[in-house]
């Protein structure tokens, strides 16, 4: 959902970070984290990146994406388990009394320049 505008925002943020660092050069590696429950599709991000990065300082960048899972916290058995589903029961005890932690954000982790 909205992957094109997300990538546009990402490129602007990277340009701002690089300018702020005072360094020149092209980006060699770009590391981002996409939460598995964020509603953002990884393939669509790659597609949008290929579309929008030419003629920017990211045009030769290798985009590395880590997918972050959410953790399911169970109110019944106190288990903490990694989870991929938007709606689930506790994988340990089957209880419906669960809350989620993490796995919902999009993060710009780091930028590696070639200078």
């Amino acid at each position: 959902m909205h992957e094109l505008s997300i990538v546009k925002t990402l490129i602007e943020q990277v340009e701002k970070e690089v300018r702020r660092s005072g360094h020149d050069g092209h980006v060699v590696h770009l590391d981002i984290i996409i939460g598995r429950l964020s509603g953002v599709n990884v393939d669509s991000i790659r597609f949008a990146f290929d579309l929008l990065s030419p003629d920017t300082l990211l045009e030769e960048a290798n985009l590395r994406i880590t997918e972050a899972k959410a953790v399911c916290l169970c109110g019944a058995c106190d288990a903490r388990t990694e989870i991929d589903e938007l709606v689930a029961n506790c994988p340990a005890c089957g209880s419906e009394q669960i809350t989620f932690e993490g796995g919902q954000d999009l993060l710009l982790e780091s930028i590696e320049l070639d200078d």
């Binding site: 909205h2 943020q13 970070e17 419906e96 954000d105 780091s110 590696e112």
Partner: protein, 217 residues
């Protein structure tokens, strides 16, 4: 060389939403973000709601649609100050649009500001507008399985309003199923059953909202 950024990509909307919320707190305005599918009855419910406020609060509305001022014109007929946002294709409102729209609202005089979001159960979940309360509408004609099918928006809501309850006798919609699904996803959320055409539940909804307004009589 490596620059470690470790920041949210969509931080800009969150930051502006916090600024919006601060502004609303300072003016003493309760702000409600109203979401739901197209046709679930958002504007019609506002027409019923403002009829029953009896001058207890000063309301205002921000309407969000891709195009047209159809909804704003309906609200205007009630004598309620309203600003229409036309997103020109964007499928949800965001904090920037709301901040701009607030230029046309006398916030210091407004006790209750309702933002009627673009009709959409998906994208609206991801954008904080700076509101204090988020209410989601689900009409009887949409079916009772939507809470589980669209969990994100229901999970992030403070109240679910089942609308068009006058249609219950003609449908197989199960209020119990919706109640159970909401209990599972977000036990703290309030559940209301309303019908704008018969008036059922509208008073209870108004009382709940007024109870949260800092300045309501």
């Amino acid at each position: 060389m490596k620059i470690v950024a470790a920041r949210k990509i969509l931080k800009a909307n969150d930051q502006l939403a916090e600024e919006n919320r601060g502004r609303f707190n300072r003016s003493g305005t309760l702000v409600v973000n109203m979401v739901g599918s197209p046709g679930c009855g958002k504007t019609t419910l506002l027409e019923a709601l403002f009829g029953g406020l009896d001058g207890r609060v000063v309301p205002a509305v921000i309407e969000g649609d891709l195009a047209s001022s159809i909804d704003a014109e309906r609200i205007e007929k009630l004598g309620v100050p309203v600003v229409q946002i036309n997103t020109q294709g964007a499928c949800h409102l965001d904090a920037v649009m709301v901040a701009d729209a607030c230029e046309g609202i006398a916030l210091d005089k407004t006790d209750l500001l309702v933002i009627e979001n673009v009709g959409n159960l998906v994208c609206t979940a991801g954008f904080d507008l700076g509101e204090h309360l988020r209410i989601v509408l689900l009409s009887v004609s949409e079916g009772d399985d939507k809470v589980i099918k669209y969990p994100t928006i229901f999970r992030k809501s403070d109240a679910l309003l089942i609308t068009k309850t006058d249609l219950l006798p003609q449908s197989n919609f199960s209020v119990d199923r919706v109640r159970a699904d909401m209990q599972r996803l977000t036990p703290k959320a309030q559940l209301f059953q309303v019908s704008a055409s018969t008036g059922e539940g509208v008073r209870q909804l108004a009382d709940w909202l007024l109870g949260k307004c800092p300045r309501a009589e």
